[in-house]
Symmetry: C2
Subunit: 264 residues, 2 copies
């Protein structure tokens, strides 16, 4: 009789991260559970950044905001610790990356406010479940990302262009792709644009600003979604004395299931 | 040949309010445009109140937050002035109503942050358009409102029970009522409860805590939506030194159309 290993639960993964037993890329880890981008800022910037997220929910979908000095994401992962449960942290000083560290125990301060933002893994799972293949996943590449001419709505010192990710979708599946991703507003939600890249200021679709270029076939349409790189770029541009994010690909894994955050 | 008077546009109404020409109840005024509840708080409470709204989007759907000292709702009503364009303001000192005034020119301060929150007029219009009659509207009464045992998610000094409004819906229209109101998350969105009042802590459906009782017929189901009274009750309970709201029924009329805020 064969045995089948069940995928680990979010709390098991976080526990392994906390103890240092495992600190890898979180894609496909704890499938079905919502993963989150991290942004930590000092209290004096927290109101403006929260307002920025509220005004720009597609690039900056808030999953949870943890009050100054608090370390437990009580709403999306009770018992977790934001200082130790992410596989890699990147510290930015005055808007420049300074160092990557494995926990925040030595840098934590009572005035730090933690923002957990939804990520594209949620809607990518939904697209795949809906039978819409994702070429960058099939090819083992990063998704293609572009800086657009779609300006975010500013708040305090935070402003800048929307960064989007692009996925080619067969023309018969475009409507379904809109419907499926509309269900997850806290996972970037519906697309921001369908079709012509130039209409949103992308000059060369074959030269993404971040990630890897991907083929767009004759019978496919490029679809663009707001991307979690936006808040990071916007926060860095404002050159805060301290900003802490996660190392790309190493996300926070919450206890919330994808279906729990679906609006329909 | 008869002439037909067109309904006034939001900016015309606001202009009449500002000049003192008209300061009435805004129900059915500028139909099709989004109306908003007002809450103004000092800056030191603004982060926590914004966080409270973010954590409780059904009772506290944010339409716009205006930065400290600023008076123009640039996103939902460019050119408007939050100090003069609402037909009635209510000032609360230490959580108690102090006076009703017609403009904020004498009380305005550079540290005040204005919150505009969605209201039930949006989804009530949508229900009526969908052929779902609203008895309190037909009877010219206030909607029935109840304090429930559904606790809001606290933030800083803000906490308390969710207040709901109840509308009886024919059992054949319950599904449609859920679908129609789901379209408007910034107008309180989908119901919080369908059916048994006791399940959410309402002891006597015939004795609402606010508004007027309404008949529920044999073939009808009571449906409960989160209500804009919630943020007001929560804000008052925290006894802020200063809180400014609108006089009930006298709302801010934005330039945004109901259909502009529909998610589907």
């Amino acid at each position: 009789m064969s045995t089948r290993t069940l995928p680990p639960l979010p709390r098991d993964v976080r526990s392994m991260v906390r103890s240092g037993e495992w600190r890898g890329v979180t894609a496909m880890v704890a499938p079905g559970y919502v993963q989150a981008n991290l942004a930590i800022l000092p209290r004096e910037l927290a109101f403006d950044f929260l307002l920025f997220c509220q005004r720009n929910p597609k690039p900056c979908p808030l999953l949870e905001v943890i009050e100054p000095g608090q370390v437990e994401p009580r709403l999306v992962a009770p018992g977790a610790d934001i200082r130790t449960d992410i596989p890699g942290y990147r510290v930015y000083l005055d808007g420049e990356p300074a160092e990557d560290i494995t926990d925040l125990n030595d840098v934590w301060r009572d005035d730090l406010v933690s923002f957990l933002l939804g990520c594209s893994y949620t809607f990518e799972s939904a697209l795949i479940h809906a039978g819409i293949p994702l070429r960058h996943v099939d090819n083992g590449k990063n998704v293609a990302m572009y800086i657009t001419n779609l300006e975010t709505v500013p708040a305090g010192p935070f402003s800048g262009p929307t960064v989007v990710s692009m996925r080619p979708v067969h023309r018969t599946q475009v409507v379904r792709a809109v419907q499926v991703t509309t269900r997850f507003p806290t996972g970037h939600g519906a697309p921001v644009h369908i079709g012509d890249p130039q209409a949103i200021g992308i000059k060369d679709i074959n030269a993404p600003d971040f990630g890897d270029a991907v083929e767009i076939r004759e019978d496919e349409v490029p679809i663009f979604w707001a991307c979690g790189v936006t808040p990071q770029a916007v926060a860095m541009k404002s050159k805060p004395s301290l900003l802490i994010g996660h190392v790309p690909g190493r996300m926070f894994i919450s206890d919330v299931r994808d279906e729990d955050i679906a609006v329909l």
